[in-house]
């Protein structure tokens, strides 16, 4: 066999991140205090999975440990920046977030049920949409870009005060149509590689695709701090990257399609804990 002559590094080269992954029964407790549910029974609406697992359970022991203490979690710098922004007045109305909401802790519980129906607006609202509505309507300030640093920081702060709470997103009532649209996107095979979210995250999770150890693609840890990018990453940014990787054309960040997908993907994680800002490789 001619090709065996090309063999050189063999064993070492084949050590992949998955092989270094931590024991799947490892427990996630943040700051020795917040106990997270990282594995539980799949919600009833979800036929494709029996058990749902947080993205944390698929990462290496090293990456996992960074999320276990706020002093080690690089995302916390951004959360601190958002705390400063929370108390800073901005816009023509001369108001800050604190003018209406007091401390960030007053938003405890919000992340666990987002995205959700906004009766006044008559549509499904994400954290970004609530933040920008406060900025433009109440503070009379410029809206932040969906994927801007300020917005990622603020959504990280909002998530951080709900850590450990159980994700419980509504899928019935007025949100149903949006949820159905999100589900349709989840199972559509995009791009020249003809891959759906489900192809990778439902049918092949826990497998290696090249050097990547596929998770179930939940969003309970968002915005996540990605070591590769050395910054926070928003959910829509992640969706965008995953569809690009199919050699497809993603929907716009902040589009109705991605809001629908966010609602659907969030609901697949009903029962896991809010972990954001989590740490990923």
């Amino acid at each position: 066999m001619k090709f065996n002559t090309m063999t050189a590094a063999a064993a070492l080269a084949l050590v992949t991140p998955a092989m270094l992954a931590a024991n799947p029964d490892a427990k996630l407790v943040v700051n020795g205090q917040i106990e997270m549910t990282t594995e539980t029974e799949a919600p009833e609406h979800l036929d494709g999975l029996r058990t749902i697992r947080s993205g944390w359970t698929f990462r290496t022991e090293e990456t996992q440990s960074l999320q276990m203490d706020d002093f080690d979690n690089p995302a916390m710098i951004y959360v601190d920046e958002a705390r400063d922004a929370w108390y800073a007045k901005d816009g023509a109305a001369d108001q800050s977030c604190a003018s209406c909401h007091e401390d960030p802790e007053s938003l405890e519980g919000l992340r666990a049920e987002l995205p959700k129906w906004n009766e006044e607006a008559g549509k499904v609202y994400t954290a970004e949409m609530y933040v920008n509505e406060c900025r433009t309507e109440r503070m009379e300030a410029e809206p932040w870009g969906w994927d801007s640093q300020e917005m990622k920081n603020m959504t990280a702060l909002i998530s951080s005060v709900s850590r450990g709470m159980t994700v419980d997103v509504q899928i019935d009532g007025p949100v149903r149509e949006t949820w159905e649209r999100g589900k349709e996107i989840y199972y559509t095979r995009y791009g020249q590689l003809e891959l759906a979210c489900a192809t990778c995250h439902e049918e092949n999770y826990d497998m290696n695709i090249r050097a990547d150890h596929l998770s179930q693609g939940h969003i309970n840890g968002f915005p996540t701090y990605r070591l590769k990018q050395a910054n926070l990453v928003s959910m829509h940014n992640r969706f965008n990257g995953c569809i690009r990787d199919t050699r497809g054309v993603p929907y716009e960040i902040g589009s109705e399609d991605f809001v629908a997908l966010e609602l659907y993907v969030a609901s697949r994680g009903n029962g896991l804990s809010v972990e954001g800002p989590a740490v990923r490789n």
Binding site: M1, A8, A9
Partner: protein, 162 residues
């Protein structure tokens, strides 16, 4: 190995319910056999197995090892495990069937995750490679006719050693 096959078979069934693009067309006329094989070589130039190996490990070409483990290609790092290992694949499939798997694996395994390397249309929101820019169909196929012959030539060398 047997276990892998059963798991994969159930994946195919589960995926059958997912939204699918229409059938699409190929870069040149293709005639599939009953089981998805393609008997006729795509070019007159015999495949070059060494070039085939290179195509299989190159990210911007076949990128086959992102899903398949191949011992003969272990000079390249990070073999995936989404598809079955290809060791001994030439003992399981003849040349026509291997060619068919490359041209459009969905003719052999309906609903498979494996991309169709010679298909040019029938896609949902296709982009120009990984640029996120919309592409007009027909697209250039993922691999050329000669690339496919080269990969088939390499796969045909993968016998269990005796």
């Amino acid at each position: 190995m047997k276990q892998t096959a059963t798991i994969l078979a159930s994946c195919v069934i589960a995926l059958a319910g997912a939204a699918q693009a229409d059938e699409g067309a190929y870069a040149q006329e293709i005639s599939f056999g009953e089981y998805g094989g393609v008997a006729e070589p795509l070019t007159d130039t015999p495949g070059d197995p060494e070039r085939g190996a290179e195509i299989m490990v190159t990210k911007s070409e076949g990128n086959c090892i992102s899903c398949h483990m191949v011992s003969a290609l272990d000079f390249a790092p990070f073999h995936g495990e989404v598809g079955p290992p290809l060791d001994g694949v030439a003992d399981r499939w003849d040349e026509a069937q291997l060619r068919g798997l490359l041209v459009d694996a969905k003719q052999t395994y309906p609903g498979t995750i494996m991309p169709a390397y010679f298909k040019t249309s029938g896609y949902v929101r296709p982009g120009q490679a990984f640029t996120k820019k919309p592409a007009e169909e027909p697209l250039p196929p993922l691999l050329s006719a000669q690339d496919i012959e080269d990969v088939v030539a390499f796969l045909s060398t993968l016998h269990w050693e005796d």
